[in-house]
């Protein structure tokens, strides 16, 4: 027992093994030497592999962030100019063309923003704001954005905030809105008919914090079981065919999940149901 304790302590301090003099013969000694060298080599190789993997992930993130930034600047020029162009004398045809160009650029900007956001959060560069905000206003604000789109598709969009939910909260309303926008946007995108329901309820409440559950429910196509495990991973959608049928970068839910991870307790309980 004493010996085991001493061996454990020797290994803990950095030794590969501990041999007791006079108890080992040549074969054991040689074997111990080889094991020690092999183990230490394997550890070195592993450390090198890990470091280079981390470094290349960091470089990729940085590249993504830089590229997004570089793309965004000229894109803003395109959007600004098309906006001005719309207000100049144009034929009906031309007006329609400019409008399509503008909305395409807008879509592209949204994608670029998503990528920038994603790489920023991945790099741990997100700073959350902390300010008082009205929860009902924040949630309804998001729902309103989608009201027209839902109406056009013939999908009912319903929002319910339970009466026990505290109305004045402190946190990052913008990020909460971003998460909800991704969830509600997805729900409507993947729902052909029926309805999308946004519900907010209280899970628990303490003096200085409350845990809320945000639920977005839809009657859409649903997500197969194996897809449910990966939808929060970046660049992945519930099904491969989704990208072909519905488009999208597969970043929305990844960003939402990342935000939930970095955000205060209140956001951590946002759930996605369908």
């Amino acid at each position: 027992m004493e010996d085991e304790r001493i061996i454990a302590s020797a290994v803990q301090q950095g030794a590969e093994d501990l041999l007791i003099k006079g108890t080992f013969k040549t074969d054991l000694l040689v074997r111990a030497i080889h094991f020690a060298i092999d183990r230490s080599q394997a550890r070195d190789e592993l450390a090198v592999a890990r470091d280079s993997a981390l470094e290349s992930a960091r470089l990729r993130s940085e590249f993504l962030a830089n590229m997004s930034h570089e793309i965004r600047t000229p894109l803003n020029g395109v959007i600004g100019m098309t906006r001005l162009l719309v207000d100049t004398p144009l034929s009906v045809d031309q007006q329609e063309m400019v409008e399509i160009a503008r909305s395409s650029a807008q879509t592209l900007l949204r994608i670029v923003n998503d990528i920038l956001d994603f790489s920023k959060i991945s790099a741990g560069k997100t700073v959350l704001e902390e300010a008082d905000f009205d929860l009902a206003l924040a949630v309804e604000g998001v729902v309103e954005i989608f009201a027209e789109q839902a109406h056009d598709k013939g999908v009912a969009l319903d929002c319910r905030i339970e009466s026990d939910v505290a109305s004045l909260l402190r946190g990052d309303a913008g990020r909460l809105g971003q998460i909800l926008t991704n969830l509600v946007g997805n729900a409507i995108k993947f729902t052909a008919h029926g309805k999308v329901t946004v519900r907010v309820g209280t899970v628990s409440e303490a003096e200085n914090e409350c845990v809320l559950r945000f639920q977005v429910r839809d009657t859409g196509i649903g997500i197969p079981l194996d897809g449910q495990r990966v939808i929060f991973n970046a660049f992945i959608q519930g099904e491969d065919s989704t990208t072909r049928r519905f488009g999208g970068t597969g970043l929305g839910l990844a960003i939402s999940a990342q935000l939930v991870d970095v955000t205060v307790e209140m956001y951590r309980n946002s759930t996605l149901c369908n």
Binding site: I6, S9, A10, Q12, Q13, G14, A15, E16, D17, L18, L19, I20, K21, G22, T23, F24, K25, T26, D27, L29, V30, A32, I33, H34, A36, I37, D38, R39, S40, Q41, D44
Partner: protein, 110 residues
């Protein structure tokens, strides 16, 4: 992994102040039929560290009762100074690893 060891000897640094233990270890290693070991000795931890800083070794055989360091702390000090070298600690039978216990090392010396 050690296919080239047939041609290249394994370089060991033995940090050990007891000449008898040193001799015994050398004899054991030279008795290994398939391997060639190149063994250098340092009789104190600080001298061992000096050697490790100036030259590359494959492994350190480290006695845990040296004149200038004793017990598992010896390992910690060596590991902190040269973190990447594998260490094989050596200890006398039934001697506390934490005390130098110079006199109980070997009746044949005292």
């Amino acid at each position: 992994m050690h296919s080239e060891s047939d041609f290249k000897p394994i370089k060991l640094l033995l940090i050990e102040d007891n000449p008898l233990d040193e001799r015994l270890l050398r004899e054991r290693l030279h008795a290994a039929p398939e391997w060639r070991f190149e063994i250098e000795t340092a009789d104190r931890l600080d001298r061992g560290l000096e050697r490790l800083r100036s030259e590359r070794f494959d492994l350190v055989l480290l006695d845990l009762s040296l004149p200038d360091s004793a017990g598992s702390e010896t390992i910690a000090r060596l590991h902190a100074e040269v973190p990447r070298i594998p260490i094989l600690a050596l200890r006398r039978w039934r001697t506390s690893a934490l005390s130098p216990a110079r006199c109980s090392r070997a009746p044949r010396i005292c």
